[in-house]
């Protein structure tokens, strides 16, 4: 009999050790995956920040430099093709006519002036005899015609366009060159960090690395979810092994804490506002800008809290504290109070405070989940222009609009959500096993 009891105690201890060892390995895997996720999310953030910087609207659509070349080349083309329009021709002709007439008028005036010298008198007489005023007046339009012909000769246009060309080339050249050089230097330094030399190569490399990071991160996410699943499976398998429940519960609490830490520290939401495309026609030339970044933010819960606390506005700070309470304080209180309640059954389990945290506080962590969900739907689906055009069947016209459709929730959100749900399940398990305990 005593041998049998000893034997069963021995096998119980063995089973317990095995359980602890097994679950500890799961916890280690979980922690390792979490660390990898953290590193990957930091790397992803760095890549996206650089990408957003390089594609920022300040260096594209809103940059005078990037317009300058396009506009100047279009203007030069235009100058080359410049010809007077008929109506402009008419105005110019009239102008020249007026001037000619004035000159002729003045010439006769000068000659007809009272002359004192003999030569002057002689000249006046000669002109009066040989020159017919009316005839000259009649010649004015002919002269104008000749002048206009001269002006509208291709050679004159060529000369004109050449002059305009050099003038255009000179516009703001000094200032332009210095800013272009400075920007180039800045971009080059970023490209060098990523070990590329051109913008195209940088973009290609960043995009391919980002997709790689995404798949890797999701691999770790699934691994962590798998760990949670295994632990819950263990609960199912060991549901009748009451003597193992305390150890398993404490290990579950530890795993929940690891998941919570991962969820809090990895990127949860990414906000991205950009101008997708702008296209316009400028003097026979199509100018277009693509993917102009306006605003990019990538934040984990903790970073959001810090951001809100730093704003210096009381209401935002209150929200920051609330998020901190709901996503950090409550969950940790909850996990530790359930552990306490389970370890010292009677003394603490009846405490209202402990009971509240153990069983009721879990739902408040949903507040953070909901806030992010609301932010997502409000920002991520801001397609007022696009959606309206779609309903009107105009969805293929290139309207320049601000789009935020690249706003996304990140793996950190999935992990945090899993933690909240896992917390609900653990609370239910606790209720069940503590009732079992009370019955004992």
């Amino acid at each position: 009999m005593s041998d049998k009891i000893g034997n069963s105690a021995y096998s119980f201890r063995f089973a317990k050790l095995l359980l602890i060892a097994g679950v500890s390995i799961i916890l280690l895997i979980e922690a390792w995956c979490g660390y990898q996720m953290y590193c990957l999310s930091a790397e992803q953030k760095a890549h996206k920040m650089d990408y957003a910087f390089v594609n920022n609207v300040a260096y594209g659509l809103f940059s005078v430099d990037s317009w300058r070349d396009q506009l100047l080349s279009a203007a030069k083309e235009e100058v080359k093709d410049f010809r007077l329009m008929p109506e402009q021709d008419a105005y110019l002709r009239k102008e020249i006519n007026e001037i000619m007439r004035a000159v002729v008028d003045h010439a006769f005036e000068v000659i007809n002036r009272e002359q004192t010298s003999f030569r002057g008198k002689l000249r006046k007489f000669a002109v009066k005899t040989f020159v017919n005023r009316g005839k000259i007046d009649k010649q004015v339009p002919d002269m104008t015609n000749n002048l206009m012909k001269e002006i509208t000769r291709p050679a004159t246009y060529r000369k004109l366009s050449k002059a305009a060309d050099t003038a255009l080339s000179q516009i703001g050249k000094a200032g332009y060159d210095s800013t272009v050089a400075a920007n180039q230097l800045l971009m080059d330094s970023i490209f060098r960090i990523h070990d590329v030399s051109t913008r195209a190569a940088f973009e290609q490399k960043t995009v391919s690395r980002l997709t790689q990071i995404k798949t890797e991160t999701y691999r770790y996410v699934y691994c962590i979810l798998g760990c949670i699943f295994i632990i819950l499976l263990l609960w199912l398998l060991l549901r009748n092994q009451r003597n193992l429940h305390v150890s398993l519960y404490l290990l579950s609490v530890a795993s929940a804490m690891i998941i919570l830490t991962i969820g809090l520290s990895t990127t949860m939401i990414e906000i991205d506002a950009r101008i997708d495309k702008m296209e316009l026609h400028f003097l026979d030339k199509t100018i277009s800008f693509k993917d102009q970044g306006l605003f990019f933010q990538s934040k984990s819960i903790i970073e959001v809290v810090i951001l809100l606390l730093k704003t210096g506005r009381v209401d935002s700070q209150v929200v920051g504290w609330l998020i901190l309470v709901f996503s950090v304080l409550f969950p940790f209180m909850k996990l530790s109070s359930t552990a306490v309640a389970l370890m010292s059954e009677d003394k603490w389990a009846k405490n209202r405070f402990i009971r509240y945290f153990a069983f009721e506080s879990g739902k408040w962590s949903m507040a953070d989940v909901m806030v992010v969900a609301f932010l997502m739907t409000y920002i991520g689906f801001n397609g007022i222009v696009a959606s309206r055009l779609e309903t009107l069947n105009y969805n293929h016209i290139p309207i320049t609009s601000i789009s935020t459709t690249n706003t996304m929730v990140q793996p950190g959100y999935i992990i945090f959500l899993s933690f909240v749900i896992y917390g609900f399940v653990l609370a239910a398990i606790l209720k069940k096993i503590s009732r079992n305990f009370t019955q004992l």
Binding site: M366, M370, M376, I399, V409
Partner: protein, 454 residues
């Protein structure tokens, strides 16, 4: 004894009828206004969306056409007002002088060239006798003055302005946004639907309508909430009257459901970030952009759930379903279960599940969490938008701009909040009353047993 009892009974049944009638009227009022508020809120949303669409920055600050029109207009004005300054006139005069001088020099050089023919020689002598180069040179300023007179005359300025104007017009025809044709069509159809032909009258009408509807929505909110609160108050007064309790509870629960339904289907929060004014200095004037809608969003809880579930992401779908289940489903289930317990205390009141769902499932009721979450989102959003917009506020010489953030809580939120408060109080009061009655029952039973033993 019997008539007294009878009259008491008539009085009770009369009271019951009156109370039920009042509750009925309150509920009907609530439902009617609830229906009205649905209609008006929807109409208001359509107006607001149209306004935000028409004033969207895509069709203003980001539209090449608008820029072109403003620039061209300013340049034309500038051309019309173009007059040479004294300095410029001086310069031009010097240039004309020089040109005339070189012309005279050239002519005399031509005349004085050695001539071979007799006629040529004769001509040279004749001219040299009549005209001296110095004399002609002396006349040059007079000629330039005359020419300048013509050039600076108003009619000449007009001609020059006309030439410039037609050139600008010609160029501006070649600058346009790729979307211009479609945009004009859409805008015209929107204006047309308001019976307006241009933007100003559209905006005026739209603003009037949406202001009126906003006022109505808030008035209806007050009416509906007051009705629900009155019913709750009445129920609390009559909570111990066993014959009235079930019917009054049902009325109250239905009233609360009207609040819930309005709360989830009306917009909870409106985000409206606009660039109120932006003036960019250009030539002697400035380019002005007014009322540029940068960001507009207005969504109800149902919209949010729909978007989350429809987004395709696993996490979003789960969260959407959780909000639907815990913030809409459970509150309804709680009201249903507690209602069942009130209507038939013997049968359903003793049922374990009904009792749990009606009175102990608060952990699963996340309506309160949602109200806090929406408030947090609102404040957080306000902070983010103020922060982001402040980077667009310029007060420099070359550019001045004023942004405005009209992010606001909408009636939907207040309806939902009212629902949460009223349903919580309703169920809590019922729970307490049941508890008190149970202890009383126990006491009666106890005394009866004592009596029996004696």
């Amino acid at each position: 004894m019997v008539p007294a009892k009878q009259s008491q009974q008539t009085a009770t049944s009369l009271l019951k009828t009156v109370v039920v009638a009042i509750f009925g009227i309150l509920l009907i009022t609530e439902v009617w206004f609830g229906y009205q508020v649905q209609q008006q809120a929807e109409a208001r949303r359509v107006h607001k969306l149209a306004y935000a669409f028409v004033n969207n920055v895509s069709f203003g600050l980001l539209s090449v056409d608008i820029w072109r029109d403003q620039v061209v207009e300013k340049v034309r004005q500038e051309m019309g007002n173009f007059r040479m300054t004294n300095e410029q006139q001086q310069e031009l005069r010097t240039a004309i002088d020089a040109k005339l001088q070189s012309l005279v020099n050239q002519t005399f050089a031509e005349i004085n060239r050695p001539k071979k023919s007799l006629g040529g020689k004769l001509k040279k002598v004749a001219i040299n006798t009549l005209v001296h180069e110095e004399e002609v040179t002396k006349e040059i300023p007079g000629f330039s003055k005359k020419i300048m007179g013509v050039l600076t005359s108003p009619s000449s300025y007009k001609r020059i302005a006309n030439i410039a104007d037609t050139t600008i017009a010609q160029i501006s025809r070649k600058i346009y946004d790729s979307s211009v044709a479609a945009t004009t069509g859409i805008m015209d159809s929107i204006y047309h639907s308001y019976g307006s032909s241009d933007k100003t009258s559209f905006e005026l009408r739209n603003k009037q309508e949406s202001d009126r509807l906003t006022k109505n929505c808030f008035q209806y909110l007050v009416v509906i909430t007051s009705c629900a609160a009155l019913m709750l108050f009445g129920w609390i007064i009559f909570r111990r009257k066993k014959n009235l309790r079930p019917v009054l509870y049902v009325f109250c629960a239905l009233g609360a459901l009207v609040l819930l339904f309005s709360g989830i289907s009306l917009p909870t929060m409106e985000i409206d970030a606009t660039l109120a004014t932006m003036d960019i200095r250009f030539l002697n004037g400035s380019l002005n952009f007014r009322n540029q809608s940068l960001f507009f969003q207005s969504q109800s809880i149902v919209d949010v759930i729909r978007l989350l579930v429809g987004s395709g992401g696993m996490a979003s779908i789960i969260v959407g379903l959780m909000i639907a289940i815990f913030c809409i489903g459970f509150p309804i289930i709680i009201l249903l279960a507690s209602g069942m317990a009130v209507i038939n205390p013997e049968k359903w009141g003793q049922n374990k599940y009904v009792d749990y769902l009606g009175f102990h499932a608060t952990k699963w009721n996340m309506a309160d969490v949602l109200t806090v979450a929406i408030l947090m989102t609102f404040i957080g959003f306000n902070g983010i938008i103020d922060n982001t917009l402040s980077t667009l506020d310029y007060a420099e010489e070359s550019i001045t701009s004023v942004t405005s953030n009209k992010t606001a809580i909408e009636p939907g939120y207040f309806f939902y909040l009212a629902f949460v408060v009223i349903s919580t109080v309703l169920v809590a009061v019922l729970k307490r009353t049941r508890k008190i009655e149970m202890t009383e029952q126990l006491a009666i039973n106890h005394s009866e047993t004592l009596h029996y033993h004696e």
